[in-house]
Amino acid sequence: MKSFLGKRAIASAISLVGLVILVFFLSRLTGDPTDLYLPVDASQEARDNFRRIHGLDQPLMVQFFQYVGDLLRFDFGESIRRSEPAIDAVLRGFTWTLQLAAITMALVTAMAILIGSLAAFHVGGFFDRLATFFSLVGASAPDFWIAIVAIVIFSVNLGWVPTSGTGGWEFWILPVAVLFIRPFGLILQVVRGSMISTLSSAYVKTARAKGLRNRPIIFVHALRNAMLPVITVIGDQAAALLNGAVVVESIFGFPGVGKLMIDSILQRDFSVILAAIMVTAFAIFLMNLLIDILYAVLDPRIRY
């Protein structure tokens, strides 16, 4: 287990370094932020001053090594736009995204497992067909379109929930509902498929022959074994949500890390982009680790 953890950490560290190098140079290729932040008629002196303050007057390689040096002291640089440490802005946004992702994934997992298992138990039945069709529709729907249609219906016409912003619990309903749809569709299909093959295995037949009732067979015997492939997909989907549900966050004016990243790219706020990417990459690394550990818990045959 320990050597496995070490290997995983090294592999992730290598990809993180690659990522940082890539993003550092790519983002700086998008142009000089000076023109964005200073008025058009700013004097040459003011421009030079701005560049010097933010370290943009140095050659690119010098900037890079300076950044890496700061990074080793856990200094992620200053945000140009907000004049605060980049990591503060990112952690604030990430907290929002984490809550959003956690609520959504908890709902998705519970619903998908419940409905998927029931659908698998009556393969080809009416409930199964209905669930399959709706999961397909859900997996095919563009989230931005669902989001704006939902706003028109539930906020503008019916006035049930606020259109955008943050505040009480009612502000969470639409973003969670929109984010729910696609992962739900995908995970439901995997649960169903995996459940179907598990339910046809010999030990389920044994349980049935013993005269057990259906519910304990599905949810106690079969579910645990059917969960392995499901967990992989749950991990992928959760990673996608952690990466920032960019579109949904920007439609609902949700101050998460995805919106922060997009804004920072458009505003050329380089240190925020990099900090955001490192924080989410680290979170995803932790989550993948958790999933690997879950594998071993669910299936004692798996040893690392």
Binding site: G18, L19, L26, L136, P142, N243, G244, M261, L266, I277
Partner: protein
């Protein structure tokens, strides 16, 4: 058809007079009504994509300021206006048909490019030595750990957001999917008897990989590609929706949804119809890919063939 070269098919040939592969596939398709509808819808979309701009290119850009935001379902008007008019009085239906070309072209280009590059790299990584495989897999890890939408945003912000660049960006973000799948499959297939037989007979590595292993791996990859086509379409729509994809006057469905967003409360149809076009297309692709997963898999195909005998 690549399928006919797989080993299980050779057993089937001992059965007297098997029908041609394409005919039995068509028959299977006809039996699954969902998949049939999906296939027909996709053919219509492809037809629109190929001929739409030629036939309706004029009508789609024809402004009529008196007909701004014309509501849909007014059947007294010309048929291109049946779904309503947009903010400049241009007929929505015609615009959706014309926009199919860019939407399809970007998705198809990205899927083809990532399929070819990803599969080739995956075959190499799976069949050849460790060093090359390690480098390729680490590269894939870097791409996988990166939020693909953001990579696209950065690159598109740097380059011109033209059709070609959009294809390149989307292709890069999808390569790891094919790479990992084909590598995983090759690792399993290369241990099989027929590969060893080919090696013993002195076939070159190139021949073994492309003539013996690829046909076995192909059905899985094609199924994934169908599914991925839907994903790429959604990704392109999201990019265009965020304003960093295709730029006007070029149009795609995603861009149309975003253009209609400012009229959301007064003219819902501007965003609704193009969004519906996206949903129907991706839904069809998903249905078709579901069907293909069974139809192209020699182990599972009986499920589709059995049901014919029941009826």
């Amino acid at each position: 058809m690549a399928v006919s070269e797989t080993p299980p098919a050779s057993e089937a040939q001992s059965i007297p007079k098997p029908p041609p592969a394409w005919l039995s596939i068509l028959r299977m398709l006809y039996r699954d009504k969902f998949a049939l509808c999906a296939a027909i819808f996709l053919i219509v979309v492809v037809f629109c994509a190929v001929f739409g701009p030629m036939l309706l290119g004029e009508a789609a850009t024809d402004q009529n300021l008196r007909g701004r935001n014309t509501p849909p379902f007014d059947f007294s008007q010309h048929w291109t206006m049946w779904l309503g008019g947009d903010a400049l009085g241009r007929p929505l239906l015609a615009r959706i048909i014309v926009a199919a070309q860019n939407t399809m072209m970007i998705a198809a280009g990205a899927v083809l490019a990532s399929l070819i590059i990803g599969t080739t790299l995956g075959l190499v990584a799976g069949y050849t030595g460790k060093a090359a495989s390690q480098v390729i897999m680490r590269l894939a890890d870097v791409i996988m750990s990166f939020p693909s939408l953001l990579l696209a945003v950065i690159v598109l912000y740097m380059l011109e957001p033209a059709v070609g660049n959009l294809i390149i960006v989307l292709a890069i973000t999808r390569i790891p999917i094919y790479l990992r799948t084909s590598r995983a499959e090759v690792l399993e297939v290369r241990e099989r008897m027929f590969v060893q037989a080919a090696q013993v007979m002195g076939a070159s590595t190139f021949r073994i990989v492309f003539r013996h292993i690829l046909p076995v791996v192909a059905p899985t990859l094609i199924t994934i590609a169908t599914l991925d086509f839907a994903f790429v379409m959604l990704a392109e729509s999201s990019l265009s929706f965020l304003g960093i994809g295709i730029q006007p006057p070029e149009i795609t469905w995603g861009l149309m949804v975003s253009q209609g967003r400012s009229y959301l409360t007064s003219a819902w149809w501007l965003s609704f119809w193009p969004g519906l076009a996206i949903i129907l297309t991706t839904l069809s692709l998903n249905l078709l890919s579901n069907w293909m997963r069974t139809a192209l898999d020699p182990v599972q195909r009986w499920r589709l063939e059995i049901s014919r005998k029941k009826k």
